[in-house]
Structure formats: C-alpha cells, structure tokens
C-alpha cells in the first residue's frame, strides 16, 4: 500500500505514513498498516496468502470433525450416533469441505504467497482481484456451512448425482446451499486462476525464463490452467441444477425424458481435472522440498515440468472413468480405460524423478522432508489402486465400495494433504520468520502417517469384501468371518481416525509451542529458489531490488560455485544466504510503488452470499445483493489500483512522523 521513497543506496524500508486525498473513486482509500483493517482491505499477496491458509486450516478441522463423526458411526455394527439423514449430510459436507474449502484454498494460499516471490515479482498482476478471490472464498465457505443451522446441509454426496439432487429426493435447502456455495467459491477459483496465470506469464523478473521457473510455480501454473477450463463446466452444471430446483426446469428428471447422465458428464468433466487441481500443487511443493533436503538438484526438471503439463492435458480426457458402471457402452469404456491408464505414465515419471532426486543425496530428515517422502510412498499406493480402477471390468466390481474410498483417500490425503503439510513446515520460517518445532513436527508426521494408514488401509479390505460406500450402518450378520471380518477392520479404521485426528491437532500444538521461537535464520534449509533471496518474512515490497535470474535454482547458484573440472561438478559454498540477501539490499531500488488497499473487493465479495440467500429465501435480498454488487463494481472501476503520487503526504521535512489520519472535509 505504501509508496517507498528512500535515498540512493540506503536500504531503509519503513513505509511512510500516508494521507489519502479523495482521489480514489468516491471513497478515500484505507491506509491502516495495523489492526484488522490492514487485513480486511489489503491487496498484499502475502497477507492474502496467509488469510487463505488460516481459513483453509479452519475448514480442515471442520471437515475433520465431520470425518470423525462418520467413523464413529461406522465403528460398530448398527451405529446410532448419526441418523441416516445426518450421516448423508455428514459425508457430503466432509468431502465438499475438504476439497473445496481446505485443499483448494490451501493450495491457493501457497500459490498466492509463493508465486510472486518465486518469479521475482512485487505482487500479483491484479492485486484487487486477488483480494476478491480470497473474500469470495471465505464468504462462500461460510455461506455453505450456514446450511447446518438453516434446515440441514446438502445430502447428495459431493458429486450430487441427478436425479437424487432434485427436490423430491432432497427437499431441504441443503442442496441449494451447496449449489450456490460452490458457484461462489467457483468465482473465487476462476478469478484467482486468471490472476495467477497472468502473473506467471507476465510478471517474471529479468532472466526468469519459463524453464528457470521454480517447479512449484510451474505446477501451480498448470493447476490454474486446469481451473480456468474446468470451473466453467461445473458452473453450467450448477446453474442447470439451480434452475431445476428453484425454477421448475427438468434437466435431470427422467420422467420428463431427461438424461441424468448429463449431470455426470458435466460434473466429471470438471471433476476429473479437479483431482489434478487437488494434487498438483502438492507435487510442486515436494519437488521443492526433496531437492533442498537431498542437497541435489531436482532430477530431470524438464521431465517434471512436462509430465505435470501432460497430466493437465490428459486430465481433461479421462472423466468417464468415473462412470464405468453407468452403461456408457463398450467403446466409450474402452477409450476412457486406456486414457486412464495412459495418465499413470506422467505420474509415474514424477515418482521416478523424486526417487532419483533422493538417490545418492545427503538426506536431511526434517519434518518437511518426512512429509514429502510420506507423499511419495502413500501416493504411490493410491496410484496403484487407481490403476486397478482404470481396468473397467475390475472397476465394476469396486464401484461404490469402500475400496474406492480407500483409493481416493490415499491419493488426496496421502498425496495432497501430506504435500501441503510438507509445504507448511518448509515455508513456515519464510512466512512467519520463525521455525516450527521439529520434535513436535515429527510427532505430527508420525501420528498422521500411522493414523492415515490405519484409517484408509483397512478400507481396501472392507471394500473388496463388499461394504458399500455411503451406507450409514453395516450389520453384524453380514460382516463375514475371520481375517476379513468387517467389524474388526471397521473398528481399526475408526481407531486410525482418532490417531489421525490427534496427528492433526499436534500441528496446532506445534504452532502454539513454536509461537515464541527466536527469529529463524534467513536461509534455514540451505534452499535453492528465488523466494529465499529476501528477508523472512519478506518485506511488503518482497525484494529490495528485483532479482536478476541467471539459472534454475538461482539462490543455490548464488551461494555455491562450481569448482569441478573436466565436466565434473563440484559445488563449493562461496556465500551464505545472508550475504546474498545483503548484496541485494545494498542495491535496493529507490522508488517502489505498491498497489493500494481497497474497500471494494471485500464489499463485492459480500454481495455474493447476500444474492445467494436471496435465491433461496427472498427476492428482496437479491435486489439488495445486486445493489451492493453494482456499487462495488463502479467503486472499483473508478478507483486507480495504485494511488497516484499526489495522493500521498509529502515527507515531513523535520522528520516528524506525518499523520496517518484521514484528512477531514477536504
């Protein structure tokens, strides 16, 4: 928000306090640098990233609580903790919360925070749109969860298959909340995707060619491309469902001659890319973590990049493997079966690359590294069971059993969530300037890894034994005998959930015990990429001097010099991270403009849940929401993204701190 003026060669970074004139549209812009206003109206990608992360973590525990209730219900035969109705709501909201309100926003948190730092930019391309994405997601998530107290949550599963989602089968407003909530969070993803794509393509520091981009930025970029083209498809599906439920259309009513498979196609054309939207950010994170802690470059960087892009492309061509049991006909099934097997190839390439990155490295088993290695192992298990689904005849046996549940939890928890935790431990000192406790971190990791295997491992068995998904009870007389007794394995799974939940809580404990840790060193991990060429936490303007990039792993190459001879490589440390940063600070840019905070993103975001409540309850609210949206849009359009120079107080000549109060009655 600040304009930073400083004398040549002086790395002073204190922003001057400013007094806005009335030059920003029809409201003076916010100038607070502390307190809640500095967060609510910020356009700083770092603050936005942190808020994304905090809110996502909150929803992680909400979704986790729902999971615990589900497993408590299934721990014993004929469970009585949840009614059938509540159970349906529970598993629907568990999946919806974990996917849309935890994994995606958590990945967005890292993408927001890290992409500008990794490509050497001072902010994203459209800082106000970035704030809009955040607040739209936050309000959408809250809106979705208010359904719990407004007549019950959605109960059709996260895929919300038609015609089950129609009013006769789901008469509460739960599905309406779900539809509108996902439309709102979809806007957040869509706006964020456009913003980050433009940022990656357009805002790179000098020398930062595409093939020098840190691998996390690459994977996050592929994810944004997937979002860009997948979100509109689910938007269509959601609108059709909304018109069906609220305005009497019959898009999915079989009795009117409709084809309920239309929903499945639209949903999975979005839904399968969504799988890669969930997991690719984690792939990117561990592709940063593994080389750092193996003290080796990422093996085959171009292969990791292009296999990521290949996953993105092929990911749009395999959706019907979710529908093998729907009667698509042999040709469709064969084509999608083969395509699905093909997508295992680029995924396998990545696993090979990670393994060979570790091979021969001097491994340093930090918590971040443990989570990264955990991902390789657990995700591979999930990937292998995934290949068994690709084989259509085998899949028809597994469809709608717990075997599928086992598979996607190994992929989503073992892949995405472990990767995100790896990122949290790796970048915590970057973001907050202090380390997380490693002992608590290791406990966090081991509880989670043991918990997840106990929870999801037995589901392979109970699934192949025939226990269906989404059944709110199982009965003793059908549980089977001996080793394959469903009762035993259901109990193991539920006990595992408790261990997993303790593991997740240990993370909070770790955050608490680490809160007073001393400041972390500038380069605690001997890291490799550009985001470390600045202080931790980074200054508001990220880099004192926009770094010039000469190589992939720029930071590493500034610290190490190749002293090998005859084509052999032998890297010798010639500078510490602190020295590299000091060198940059010594050449600080003199005049840096940052985008100004704004009221309008949060106001515009606020209009969306009001509109959505209006669709459910009252036209009056629609009018109110639309009025707020129009006000915000025009306020936004009339306000320059960066305050002009004459909108700032001139620096006080005698060195007094200028007033930061708004000028009254100008």
């Amino acid at each position: 928000m600040a304009i930073i003026e400083r004398p040549e060669a002086s790395p002073a970074t204190t922003p001057e306090y400013v007094t806005p004139s009335a030059s920003m549209g029809f409201l003076r812009r916010p100038v607070e640098t502390t307190g809640w206003k500095s967060w609510a109206f910020t356009v700083d990608h770092k603050k936005i990233g942190i808020m994304y992360g905090v809110v996502a973590m909150l929803f992680f525990f909400v979704g986790g609580l729902e999971a615990v209730l589900i497993r408590a219900q299934l721990a014993q035969a004929d469970g009585t903790i949840l009614s059938a109705d509540k159970y349906n709501q529970m598993f629907t909201m568990h999946a919806t919360t974990m996917i849309f309100l935890f994994v995606m926003p958590m990945a967005a948190a890292f993408a927001n925070y890290m992409i500008p730092l990794q490509i050497g930019a001072r902010d994203v391309a459209f800082p106000r749109l970035n704030a809009l994405s955040l607040w739209t997601f936050v309000f959408g998530g809250i809106f979705l969860n208010t359904s719990w107290i407004l007549g019950g949550a959605a109960d059709g599963g996260w895929f919300m298959y038609a015609p089950n989602s129609s009013v006769p089968f789901s008469p509460t407003n739960g599905v309406d909340f779900w539809v509108l909530g996902l439309l709102i969070t979809g806007i957040a993803s869509q706006v964020g995707a456009i913003n980050l794509i433009v940022t990656v393509l357009n805002m790179r520091a000098p020398g930062m060619s595409l093939m020098r981009m840190p691998i996390f930025t690459w994977m996050a970029f592929v994810v944004q491309m997937l979002l860009l083209f997948a979100i509109p498809v689910i938007t269509v599906a959601l609108f059709l469902l909304m018109f069906q439920r609220n305005f009497g259309a019959t898009f999915f009513s079989v009795e009117e001659g409709a084809d309920p498979l239309l929903w499945q196609h639209l949903f999975w054309i979005f839904g399968h890319p969504e799988v890669y939207i969930i997991v690719l950010p984690a792939f990117g994170i561990i592709s940063e973590v593994l080389p750092t802690f193996a003290r080796k470059p990422l093996f085959g960087y171009p292969f990791v990049v292009f296999s990521g892009a290949a996953i993105g492309f092929v990911g749009f061509g395999v959706w019907a493997h979710h529908m093998f049991a729907a009667g698509l006909g042999p040709i469709s099934v064969a084509v999608f079966s083969v395509a699905t097997m093909a997508i295992a190839v680029p995924t396998g390439v990545k696993i090979i690359n990670w393994t060979l990155t570790l091979w021969g490295g001097k491994l340093w088993f930090t918590t971040a590294m443990l989570f990264a290695i955990g991902l390789i192992v657990q995700f591979t298990i999930g990937g292998l069971s995934g290949v068994t689904h690709a084989v259509a005849p085998s899949d028809t046996q597994q469809t709608d059993t717990y075997y599928i549940v086992a598979h996607f939890h190994y992929v989503i928890f073992g892949g995405a969530v472990l990767g995100l935790f790896s990122g949290i431990y790796y970048w915590w000192p970057k973001i907050f300037g202090k380390m997380l406790n490693e002992s608590w971190g290791r406990a966090n990791f081991w509880f989670m890894i043991i918990g997840m295997n106990l929870t999801f491992g037995p589901m392979h068995i109970i699934g192949l034994q025939g226990q269906p998904r989404r059944m709110y009870v199982w009965t003793e007389n059908r549980a089977g005998e001996g080793f394959f007794n469903l009762g035993f394995w259901n109990l193991v799974s539920s006990v595992g959930t408790v261990i997993l939940a303790i593991g997740a809580l240990l993370f909070l404990v770790n955050v608490w015990v680490s809160r007073k840790n001393p400041p972390a060193p500038a380069d605690p991990w001997d890291a490799r990429s550009l985001e470390w060429i600045t202080t931790s936490p980074p200054k508001e303007h990220n880099f004192d001097r926009t770094p010039t990039v000469h190589a992939l792993d720029e930071f590493f190459h500034r610290k190490y010099e190749d002293v090998g001879e005859d084509g052999q490589h032998d890297y010798k440390k010639v500078a510490t991270g602190e020295e590299v940063i000091a060198e940059e600070e010594a050449h600080a840019d003199a005049h840096i403009h940052l985008p100004s905070p704004s009221y309008w993103p949060i106001v515009l975001a606020l209009s969306m849940p009001i509109l959505a409540y209006g669709v459910i309850y009252s036209t009056l609210l629609i009018v109110a929401g639309a009025a707020i949206a129009i006000l915000a849009l025009f306020g936004w359009a009339l306000e320059p993204p960066t305050a002009p120079d004459d909108d700032f107080d001139p620096p006080s000549p005698d060195g007094d701190e200028p007033s930061k109060e708004l000028v009254a009655n100008v």
Binding site: G120, A121, R122, D123, A125, F126, P127, A193, I194, V198, L201, N202, M203, R204, A205, P206, S209, M211, R212, L228, F229, I231, P232, V233, T235, V236, A237, F239, L240, F243, A249, T250, F251, E256, G257, A258, D259, L262, L266, K296, P297, L298, Y301, P302, T548, H550, A551, L552, H557, R558, D566, G567, E583, H593, L594, A637, L638, P640, P641, T642
Partner: protein
C-alpha cells in the same frame, strides 16, 4: 557430459552452467513492470499487457461455459414431447435480422476502438453509443421473440427443449446486457474523464468481450435456428 559449451538455458538436473553471479547485464533503469501494477502494459514479460492477457484467459474459459450450455441444448433440442417444438416456433427471417444487427454492432465497436487509438474521444463515444444501441436492438428483438414464443405456448418449464433453449439464449442475452452496461459506463466515464489507465486499451478490452459475445451468437444461431430439428 562433455565440456562443450552448455546452453545457459539448459536446465537438466545438474548440468546447468552458471552465469557469473553478479553481472549487471540488465540495462540501467530497467523497469520490472511492477511499479504501477496493472498500469504499465509495456513492461511485461510477454509484452502483452496484463489486462489483455487476462481478458483472453477469461474469454477462453467463457468458451467452456457456452460449450456446456450448447451441449445441453443439443442433447435436448428435440425433446419437447407433445408440446410445441422448434419447427413451429422459429421465425428465421426475424432472427436473421436481429443477428445482422448484432454483427453490425461488432463493426461499430471496431470503429470505436480505432477512434480511441487515434485519441478521438468524440468519435469513440459516438461509436460506443451506437454499439450499445445496436446491442439494445438485438436484446429487444430477443425479448420480443421470447414473448412470441411464450404466447405460442413455450414456457420456461414446458419441455426439456424449452428449458435448454431459454437457458442457452438467456445466458447469451445476459452477456449482451452486461456488455451494454459496460459500453454505456465507458461512454459516461470517457465523458467525465474518469477512466483509469489507458483509454484505448480499455475500449479495446470491452471490444474483445463484445466481439466474443457476437461470435458466440453466430454459433448459437447456426446450431439452434439454422440446423433443422
């Protein structure tokens, strides 16, 4: 690996040749493009302005939105049961005329963009207004058409064909309406000189959106009206 010269851009695992570290090869006064975020179109990595790139990305995703709606219509276009169907409803000459009006609005939009690039504010505003009027004419035609269809017995919930037809053309109509609002706002902001950033580029961006909406209509008109049921 041989010790032959290695392309500095090559980035295979451990063969990267490192350029000298602190060479100051960037020209003095290099503008990193971040100094006025969103306002400095000429210093981006690709050379395209951020706004233009973002607009293209947005339009790319809009293709998928209309793709989904068009697919839904194509699936349901003959499912009207005993109710009134497309053959009894379409008035091809009338819809051709409104389509022509919409396409002509693309021409006036282009005239507006070139006027803006010549910094001719008066003509820019004039052609923007004409574009908005032509868009409004098209929308009025659509409203008239919907009214006629409704009187002939095609309500929104009459049949699958009816719902998918009104949903598809309705979404397009909303896009046109949003376009008209943007055009008129642009005229007002130009008149009051309240436009932020590069005027010509802003006009061009609205133009991109407007042309996209027109192109989508060509697809819709062909698939919905011209292909016999």
């Amino acid at each position: 690996m041989s010790d032959a010269t290695i392309d500095p851009d090559a980035t295979t695992d451990d063969t990267t040749h490192v350029a000298p570290i602190h060479d100051d090869t960037i020209p003095a006064g290099y503008d990193d493009g971040n100094d006025h975020i969103g306002l400095a179109p000429h210093h981006t990595t690709t050379g395209l302005s951020n706004t233009k790139l973002a607009m293209w990305m947005f339009l790319g995703s809009e293709c998928l939105l209309f793709g989904g709606l068009i697919s839904t219509y194509m699936l349901y276009r003959n499912r009207q049961g005993d109710a009134i169907g497309p053959d009894q409803l379409w008035d091809i000459p009338f819809t051709s005329a409104t389509s022509f009006v919409l396409l002509m609005s693309s021409l006036t939009m282009v005239l507006s963009v070139t006027a803006a690039q010549r910094k001719d504010d008066r003509r820019t505003r004039l052609w923007l207004t004409v574009t908005a009027l032509l868009g409004g004419l098209f929308l009025s035609g659509q409203v008239y058409e919907f009214t006629v269809f409704y009187r002939e017995g095609l309500g929104y919930t009459t049949s699958l064909f009816a719902s998918s037809f009104y949903t598809l053309t309705g979404f397009h109509g909303v896009h046109v309406a949003v376009g008209i609002i943007m055009l008129l706002s642009l005229v007002a902001m130009l008149a009051k000189n309240r436009l932020i950033g590069d005027k010509a580029e802003t006009v061009e961006m609205i133009g991109l959106y407007w042309h996209f909406v027109d192109v989508v209509w060509i697809v819709i008109f062909t698939l919905v009206y011209l292909i016999p049921a």
